[in-house]
Amino acid sequence: MTRSFTPRRLVGPVLLLALGVFLACAPYLPLKTFGILPDALNSPGSLQLLAIMFTVAALAASFDILVGHTGLFSFGHALFFAIGAYGFAMTLTLTDLGFGPAVLAGLGATVLGAVAVNAVALRASLIAFSMVTLACAQLASIIVNRNYFRTGGEEGITLPYQKMPAVFVGIVNTKYTYWTALALLAVVVAVTVWVTSTRLGRVWHAIRENELRVSVMGLSVYWYKFASAVFASTLAGLCGIVYAIVLGTADPSVTGLFYSLGLIVMVILGGKGTVWGAVVGGLLYTLLEQRLPVVAQSDAIASLPAALRIPLSEPQLLLGAVFVVFIFVLPGGLADAARRLARRRRDDRPRRPGATRPAPDPAPAAPAG
C-alpha cells in the first residue's frame, strides 16, 4: 500500500529538520531562556543541562522499546545505563588503553551484562520479570555503593582528564559534549524508529498484544523478547557512556532503585509505545528534576508559606502527583493526548492540503478520559 504524496506529509520531517538545525546551532545562539535553563541558551550551564536532558531522553527512548513496544516491564533498565558508564569509566581510569577502547569496553560490558541478565530474567514472566530485573539492578547498586571491584563507592569515578580527548575537557568545550549528546539522541531515536518498523518490531508488537498467539503461530517468544531486551539494553549502555562523558564522572546514583522507577515515570508521562512520547517524557522529567530545586531556593519561593514551598522544592512530589493524575486521566500520556487533539482538529476542519497545522502543545488543553 503506497500513500499518495501530499505536502501535508512533509510538515513533520521539515519541522523535525528545523528543530535539529536549531538545536545544533544552540551553542552559538545567546538567547534568553527566562529561567527555564540556568542562563542564556549558549552558556555552558545551559548546554550542560541540555546535554543531560538529551542523554536521559535517549535512555527513555531505549526503555520504551521494552515497555512500549514489547510489553516487558523491566524495573532495572538503569542497570545497563550504569554498566555502560562504569565499564567505560573504569577501563579509562584503571588501564592505559585510551578513550576509543574504553568506549568499546563499556559497550562490550553492556552487551555481556544484557545477555546474562536477560537470559535469566526472561525465564520469569510479567511481574516476576520486573522483580528479577529490579533485584539485578539492586545488586549492581550494592556493588557500586560498597566500592567492590574498585567501582569508587558513593563518590563515583571521576574521569581522568589526561586520558580524555581534548575536545571533552574543560568548560570551554561544553559545546562538544552537547553535540555528542544531541547526536546520541538523534541516533537512538532513528535506530528505534527504524527497528520498530521492521518485521522484528512487528513481532515485538504482536508479543505485547498477545504473547500466546505469537507462540501459537510458531514463533519463539523467548528469543524475540531476548532480542528486544538485549537491543534496548545495549542502547542504554551507549547512553551511559555518553552520560559519563557529559558529567565527567560515573555517577553511582544511576544504579539506584529510584532511577529505574524514574524511567517508568518518564515513559508513562510521555506515552508508551511512541518514540516521541518517551523522548518528551525524558526531557520534561529531567528538566523538572534538575531545575525545580534551584528555582525553589530563590528568594521569591523561600518567602512562600510551607504549603506552597514544600511541593516546589521537592521535584519528586510534583512528579509523583502528576504521574498519579496521568494514570487516572491520561493513561496514554502526552503522546496520546496530542494524537487525540490532532484528530479532533482534523475532524473539525475541512481538509485542505497544506493547511493543517502540526499538533500543538498538548499539555494544557488535554481532553480527559
Binding site: A124, A128, A135
Partner: protein, 299 residues
Amino acid sequence: MDAVLLLTVTGLSVGALYFLLASGLSLVFGLMHVLSFAHGAYLSVCAFAGWLVLRGADFDAGAPTWRYAAALVVATAAGAGLAYLTEVFLIRPLYGRDQLDQLLVTMGLGFILIAVLAGVWGPDEQAVPLPRWVRDTTELGGIAIPNDRFLLIALAALVFVLIQLFLRRTRHGLIVRAGVQNRDMVRALGIDVRRSFTLVFVLGGAAAGLGGALAATFIRAITPHIGDSFLLYAFIVLVVGGLGSLSGALVAAVAIGVPQQFANYYVNPGAGDVLAVALMAAMLLFRPQGLFGQKERVV
C-alpha cells in the same frame, strides 16, 4: 561462638521486619494480583508518625514507658489509615484496568509520600529516643543481646498469629483464603472479593506501620528513605516464599534475614545483600512459584 547467637537473634529480628512488610504485600498480591510499591513509603511515614510521638521524650529523666507503646499504636493506626485511604481513593477506581496501572499508582504514591517527608523534616537522620528497657541488653548464654531484638521477634510472631487467626477463624478470612486459591470461583459464587480485599489491604498497611515503628527502634534513627531497602527485601521475601502465602513469607523472611547477617559479618559487609538477591535468582530459576506458592498462579 558468641557471635553466632547474637547474629542469629539479629537476623531473626531483621527477618521480623521483612515479614511485617511482606505479609501484607503477599496477601494483597495473592488476592487481587496488585503489587504495592507504596508499602515501603508506608513504613517510612509510620516511622515518622512513631517518632512524632516520641520526639522530645527524655526517658532517662523519667518520661513514662507507655509513651513508647503509644508510638507503636500510633504508627500501626497510621499505617492502617493510610492503606485504607489508598485503597479507596487510588486503587478501587482502577479495578478493571490493567493491573500494571494499580502498581504504577502505588509507585507514584510512594514518590509523593517520601517527598512530603523529605520536604517537611528534611532528608537528614532524626534520632529516636527510646525507653531504657528497650536500649538495655539481656544476658543470654553468656552474651549480652539488645532487648529490642526480642521485642521485634515477639511482635512479628504476634502479628503472624493474629493474621493466621483472622484467616482461619473469621468469615472474611475464609473468603480471603478461597480468593487466593481461585478468585473467579469465589466471585462466581456471588461473594464480593473486593470488600475482603479492602480489609486485607488495611491489615497489610497496619503491619507495615508497626514495622515502621519497629524499624525506627532497631536502627535508632529515621530518614525518609528508611522504607526503601526494607521494601526491596520484602519483595525478595515475597518471591522466595511464594506470592500469596503467609507461611511462605514467614519462612522466607527468616531464610533471608539470618544468612544475610552471617554473610555480612563473616564475609564482607554487603555480601549478605548479594546473597539475598542470589537466593531470589536461584529460586526463580529452579522453583519459580516460590517455597509455598501455587504453581499455576505464579505471578
